[in-house]
């Protein structure tokens, strides 16, 4: 699933940035790395850019760039969105009904099942305390 296909209100987890080079590097530098979780906040009209929230900050990007980010839709869970919950119920059901096989996963990296701590982002294999690394 591409980030560009999501509608406002849907939460996602980044699986992979599909390209390298300038665009891919920019997306990754801005925090769209595998395991990062976020939410589509709004879309500009006539298929203009989209606004996403990645934890503490918001990004805007064109749909062209958003098509390069592979994501997985997350079930609605964030408590601070409680006021909007009734609206999102449908989206949640839709996600839960999807066949598991169609949820693309990437074996190598960034494939952590649970959420880590209280934070929105989850990082996989190297998600350890850096102070232990040296």
């Amino acid at each position: 699933m591409q980030l560009a296909e999501l509608s406002p209100g849907q939460r996602f987890k980044v699986i992979n940035v599909a390209v390298g080079g300038e665009i891919g590097k920019r997306l990754a530098d801005m925090g769209l790395v595998s395991g990062a979780e976020g939410e589509v906040v709004r879309a500009a009209f006539f298929r203009g850019p989209i606004q996403i929230r990645l934890g503490d900050y918001d990004l805007i990007m064109r749909r062209y760039e958003a098509r390069l980010v592979d994501v997985e839709i997350l079930p609605e869970a964030a408590p601070q969105m409680a006021s909007k919950a009734p609206k999102k119920a449908l989206a949640t059901m839709y996600v839960d009904l999807r066949p598991r096989g169609r949820r693309r996963s990437h074996g190598a990296y960034g494939e952590a099942k649970g959420t880590h701590g209280t934070h929105g982002k989850t990082h996989g294999a190297h998600d350890k305390d850096p102070s232990c690394l040296d």
Partner: protein, 712 residues
């Protein structure tokens, strides 16, 4: 190395991290603004005395990363690599730790002592983000000081920690990319270290990591390394290994590993007393970005800026005009020799007045723009308008400069500074002159009113509309030819709304105004002087005989006139005579064969010349060239209209062609000077050649169409 005479501190940080406010808090008023060599990126630099040391503070452009892709990032890293500051202070937005620490990791890798300012500490506290900066600092091996830049809190401690870090010579801990990748980095580093000259210039580890990231600049820097071939082979090997094991592009993998490392550090040192969310910003955005409200609100904002700038700007402009008028009268009546007096009044005072007349516009406009930029609204405006502008090859941030072009091209071109992508910025700059500025309106009104008295407003509207269409078509064309190339990725931060500080906004206004006066003002002044010279010299021969001759003629044909009316009329005719015999007159006659196919004679050629200093002057030059005997000044306008209508040189067809020519021709010298300052000589020259050629072709076509339509 220790105790060098002057300590150089570089300030790095993300955009919107409050870097400028920290810089201002450190340097106070003692700083200057210049450019980084060869590029239009602004460079702020200040010198201070602190604890008996002289410290030079250099503000690097705000960046999110240090790739070779964006100009700002290249400028920042070139400074760090080539000028090797003694210390880097990284300004970190505490409310947005993870993404801000991403830049810190890259600064650490440069192996220059780094100190981090956990800025906006107050905002983080408000949001319930509790940072144990002791733990974070220990984990990352970088000293950290909480600061509130806008109030100057913690800034002194920051400087103290920076100096003691420098004196202790302590190096930060290198972030780890995980065992496997580290092994590859190590083998690259080993090869890089074999060239001792190279090790003296660069951090091998930094170069190794950048090479893995496919960084074009790092690759250039290893050319000539004694083991270059082996390094490149090892690099290929690393890329193959990464592709095999991670199935990812190496540059993406490195970013992911950095975020992974940061995430671990933040998990240790930060906890939240409240859930995430940006409540106030979200509440404002629910209105400001609402599907039905956002666009009307945006147009209202643009309209308000336009009105504020040009309506309020009129007053100080009128004061300046009055001041310079009084000064001119004073000099006129002084006992100085004629030639010097004329030079002072018509070249110097007129020129300086011309330069300063734009200052009120620039001050007000940049007050508005800086205010909106600091609140975070400019990024939202880009979000709203990007789709349409991107289709023609521009950027969401091109919209406001284009709208301002209806007022005056000078501040409009300067407003393109908010655009970061060089190609889209140049494209916007080149599109602005097609938008008819306020200075062109008097010519439109004169020509349309004279030759299309029943449809004057329709004709003027059509000329304006033609300009907008041309600006769109021209941009579309240029972005597919000379400005070809992928637009920069549109991935921008949408910062939370913040209340701008008056000090910050005023600083910004001062910097822009000063840079205009310094860079464009001098050229505008020089060209004004040049224009005066070519319209006043050489002094026409036989002017005394001519004067006596016309005096006789006037007295014979208008016996009712009194002495002062006769003098006025003679002066008009003498000015006409002088202009005809000046360099400008000769130029007009030289270019006549070129503009003749359009239907223009040499007088029109001459009138267009001062149009290059300011479009308003076309009307007054036509007034001189077609000036006739008048009884008082109020009659001047209607008599000029009558004279143009009666002249065999003119017809509605010629007028229409001239309207198009003036619409398309190169903008005034003030705008060209600003284009030069903002985009460089090359693009200014291009603008002149391109718009001259286009103006000729389009007015020729208009003229032909006029023939077919029977407009004379």
């Amino acid at each position: 190395m220790q105790d060098r005479a002057v300590l150089t501190i570089a300030l790095a940080g993300n955009p919107n991290s409050g870097k400028t406010s920290v810089f201002n808090a450190i340097t106070g008023a003692h700083h200057k603004v210049g450019n980084y060599p060869g590029v239009t990126v602004e460079k702020r630099e200040g010198k201070i005395e602190f604890r008996d040391r002289e410290i030079r503070i250099v503000d690097l452009p705000g960046t999110y990363s240090l790739t070779a892709y964006s100009l700002d990032e290249v400028v920042a890293r070139d400074f760090l690599l080539n000028e090797k500051p003694d210390i880097v202070i990284d300004i970190i937005d505490s409310t947005n730790l993870e993404r801000n620490l991403y830049l810190l990791l890259q600064l650490i890798e440069l192996e220059i002592p780094v100190v981090a300012a956990l800025n906006m500490a107050d905002e983080a506290k408000e949001k319930g983000i509790v940072i144990n900066h002791g733990i974070l600092s220990k984990t990352l091996g970088v000293p950290m000081v909480p600061t509130v830049g806008s109030r100057g809190e913690g800034v002194e401690e920051l400087l103290e920690v920076a100096i003691s870090t420098y004196e202790a010579g302590s190096k930060p801990r290198m972030p780890s990319y995980g065992e496997d990748i580290e092994a590859h980095i190590a083998s690259l580093v080993a090869l890089l270290k074999e060239d001792s000259a190279f090790v003296a210039a660069y951090s091998p580890r930094w170069i190794a990591i950048k090479l893995i990231e496919k960084d074009s600049d790092a690759k250039k820097r290893i050319s000539g390394h004694i083991r270059e071939a082996e390094i490149l082979a090892a690099l290929e090997d690393t890329w193959r290994w990464i592709a095999l094991h991670y199935r990812k592009d190496p540059e993406i993998l490195i970013s992911e590993q950095r975020y992974g490392y940061i995430h671990g550090a933040v998990a240790e040192a930060v906890h939240r007393t409240r859930q995430r969310g940006i409540p106030l910003t979200e509440q404002i955005d629910n209105v400001v970005m609402h599907p039905f409200i956002s666009l009307p609100l945006f147009f209202l904002v643009i309209w308000a800026i336009f009105r504020l700038t040009f309506a309020i700007g009129e007053y100080p402009m009128a004061w300046l005009e009055g001041l310079f008028g009084a000064l001119a009268r004073y000099v006129q009546n002084s006992p100085l020799p004629n030639g010097i007096r004329d030079f002072l009044v018509n070249a110097v005072i007129h020129g300086v007045g011309g330069v300063l007349s734009f200052v009120p516009l620039i001050v007000i406009l940049f007050f508005c723009i800086s205010f909106l930029e600091d609140t975070g609204y400019i990024a939202r405006a880009a979000f709203l308008t990007d789709h349409f502008l991107h289709a023609i090859g521009l950027h969401g941030q091109s919209f406001m400069p284009l709208m301002l072009g209806f007022g005056c091209s000078v501040p409009a071109i300067m407003a393109t500074r908010t655009l970061k992508s060089p190609k889209e910025r140049i494209a916007t700059i080149l599109a602005i002159p097609f938008i008819s500025c306020g200075g062109k309106l008097p010519i439109y009104v004169l020509l349309a009113g004279t030759f299309f008295p029943n449809h004057a407003s329709t004709v003027v509207m059509l000329v304006y509309a033609t300009g907008v269409v041309l600006s769109i078509l021209s941009t579309y064309f240029l972005r597919r030819t000379v400005l070809k190339g992928q637009s920069m990725p549109f991935v921008m931060e949408l910062p939370p709304y913040r209340m701008p500080t008056l000090k910050g906004v005023l600083w910004h206004v001062w910097e822009k105004t000063w840079s205009y006066v310094r860079k464009a003002g001098t050229i505008i002044l020089a060209v004004s002087v040049l224009m005066w010279v070519i319209t006043s010299y050489p002094k026409a021969k036989g002017i005394e005989n001519y004067e006596m001759q016309v005096r006789k003629e006037i007295i014979a044909s208008h016996p009712e006139l009194n002495e002062s009316q006769i003098a006025t009329n003679i002066e008009i005719l003498l000015r006409q005579y002088q202009l005809e015999h000046s360099i400008a007159g000769s130029i007009g006659k030289i270019v006549e064969p070129i503009i003749a196919p359009i239907g223009f004679n040499w007088k029109i050629g001459v009138a267009l010349l001062p149009g290059l200093t300011a479009k308003e002057l076309v009307v007054s030059t036509l007034g001189v060239l077609y000036g006739t005997a008048v009884n008082d000044e109020n009659e001047a306008d209607s008599s000029l209209r009558q004279a143009l209508r009666d002249s065999p040189d003119w017809s509605p067809r010629v007028a229409l062609a001239l309207l198009i020519f003036i619409l398309v021709m190169p903008p005034c010298f003030s705008s060209l000077a600003v284009i030069r300052a903002e985009a460089g000589d090359k693009w200014m020259a291009f603008q002149v050649a391109y718009s001259l050629a286009l103006a000729w072709v389009l007015s020729f076509l208009t003229s032909m169409a006029g023939h077919l339509l029977g407009l004379g």
